[in-house]
């Protein structure tokens, strides 16, 4: 019964992972014809190096720019659209529509909006793609927009599982609509919010397509996220460095997920005791 799972994991997870470790320990020559042992020292060198650290820093800033705002926006939209009104389905469809768009689509949309040369809002200074200080914000905006549909759909689905009777009981207990939301609704949908938090964080930390399409890492490397830096290290001469960075990123993502799941499991209500 477990065999298919093991085979899939083996082929697509464990084999690539061991392959990466191998690539980190052996460095090919420029033509990829011979490998020389570089050993664990290569790991130390790359993971403490300037490139890796700026990559992590830029990715982390990207996470901070996208996840909290994206989550909050999705939550607010879902709360607004979760009512029994005529025509509410239209809004629900509109809000969730970005779920059907890929990172590429969202990047192109935002390229046409905020590109300094052709964009309708190209001259908005606080998200200008031409300025190293603000370019990451522009990229983040497109990512927030693209993930909004997913956040909205999942929060809306979670809201629909909150029993009406609980809200009626809260109304009789004297809670106004704000306190009904904070005291009853939010705790009950917290598993969905925790799930979204993890998923959005990991996906923001790994985002690449938006960066590649909107800025190509520029200006002046200011939007070179970690994945972008790894992507740039594909030639035989640098692939060993790229492999080590990948393993570093895997470790960071893993730790991040663990920390967040542990933190939220204490706060989050999963309907149990």
């Amino acid at each position: 019964m477990l065999l298919p799972t093991l085979v899939l994991l083996g082929v697509f997870a464990y084999f690539p992972l061991t392959r990466l470790v191998h690539m980190g320990l052996w460095r090919p020559n420029r033509f990829g014809t011979r490998e020389t042992w570089v050993g664990p020292a290569n790991f130390v060198e790359v993971l403490t190096g300037e490139d890796f650290r700026t990559g992590v820093w830029i990715s982390a800033r990207y996470v901070l720019l996208t996840v909290p705002i994206g989550l909050l926006l999705g939550l607010v939209l879902a709360l607004a659209a979760h009512r029994r009104l005529k025509g509410i389905r239209v809004f629900q469809t509109v809000f969730s529509s970005t779920i059907a768009s890929s990172a590429a689509v969202s990047a192109v949309v935002f390229y046409s909006l905020i590109n300094p040369k052709i964009g309708r809002f190209g001259d908005v200074s606080w998200l200008s793609l031409a300025d190293p200080d603000t370019a990451l914000r522009g990229v983040a905006l497109s990512s927030i927009w693209q993930n909004l549909g997913l956040t909205f759909v999942i929060v809306l689905a979670a809201l629909q599982t909150v029993p009406d009777e609980l809200l009626e009981a809260a109304a009789l207990d004297g809670f106004g609509s704000v306190r009904r939301t904070t005291k009853v609704v939010l705790p009950l949908i917290s598993p969905a919010l925790a799930f979204l938090g993890v998923v959005l964080m990991v996906s923001a930390f790994q985002s690449f397509a938006q960066v590649e399409l909107l800025t190509g890492g520029g200006p002046a490397g200011s939007t070179e996220t970690l994945v972008f830096k790894i992507f740039e290290r594909q030639s035989p001469g640098s692939i060993s460095e790229g492999a080590v960075m990948s393993i570093g990123m895997f470790a960071i993502t893993f730790v991040m997920t663990m920390v967040q799941l542990t933190l939220t499991s204490r706060k989050v209500h999963y309907g149990g005791r």
């Binding site: 009626e168 809260a170 009789l172 005791r273």
Partner: protein, 348 residues
Amino acid sequence: MLDGLTKRFGDLQVVDHLSLEIHDREFFVLLGPSGCGKTTVLRMMAGLDAPTSGTITLGDTVVNHLDPRRRDVAMVFQSYALYPHMTVAENIEAPLLGRGGSRREGRAARARQVREAAEILGLGELLGRKPAALSGGQRQRVALARALVRRPQLFLMDEPLSNLDAKLRTRTRLDLVDLWRQLDATIVFVTHDQVEAMTMATRIAVMADGILHQVGAPTDVYDDPDDLFAATFLGSPPINVLEVADLEPSTNGLGPLPTGTTQLGVRPEHLRTVSEDAPAGELALLRGTVRGREALGHEVHVVARVGARDVVARQPAHDATPAPGSPIILGFHPSDALAFDRDGARVR
């Protein structure tokens, strides 16, 4: 007090011009089959549904347009509607916090009220638990504690016993009546279970299809129903309904019936077996064949086929009954029979 209360959902008339006066400190039961509109009445009193027309008055105040939280009523839901993410203590405390109590009263005062409410319902040990870790009966008591912690003017209860097993339900009926006396409170209790209505209510209102059939003390409604619906809804096994036209004139010995009578209702406990040769005295007689007998231990229900319908008679447990298929004569005192007209209204 409810006056001309009507509720429509689209074309569906759920409650139709219902007028009721519920007195202070009454244990008032709204009784009717599922879908008869009784829960809707309760929800309108709570302020969860708005009436289509009519007025609801609590004390001297018309509350139609008041928010649920301004009505000074507490409700116990059929599902209990406990907050699953809060402990028992927090659940009970919620109504105190909800009314801005956090500012008016101190934390200590609230804790005391929660403890008192928990004590009344024997929940002292469970205050730290979450609802998921409680049994059905315990959850029900938490729901009651949450309702009474604030000492509201009026308690509304929507079938709070229906999720309990039969044994616990019987015990809780008594506990609820005790609680009602202890609190000196007014309770409006919705149920489809006539036993609950009969055993707990000071007065009951029988409802069907959004229409009020009869209001009165349980025994009054049972002994002296206004119509066939009220007569059949109360009592188990239900009252036997006999078509006057089906009764043989030679054997019925009924004497004159009120004009307009087309149906007679005879409660199973008023029927007894009569032997062929014994003098019938003043009894009216029904002749039929035995279909079966249901022994319950403390009594036996004899089911007999009379004409085109089944008639049930309650007998003491150890009385001999004829075997299925054999003829049987059942007798009743004419004064015990209730007369109804073609439309099911009582004829007196």
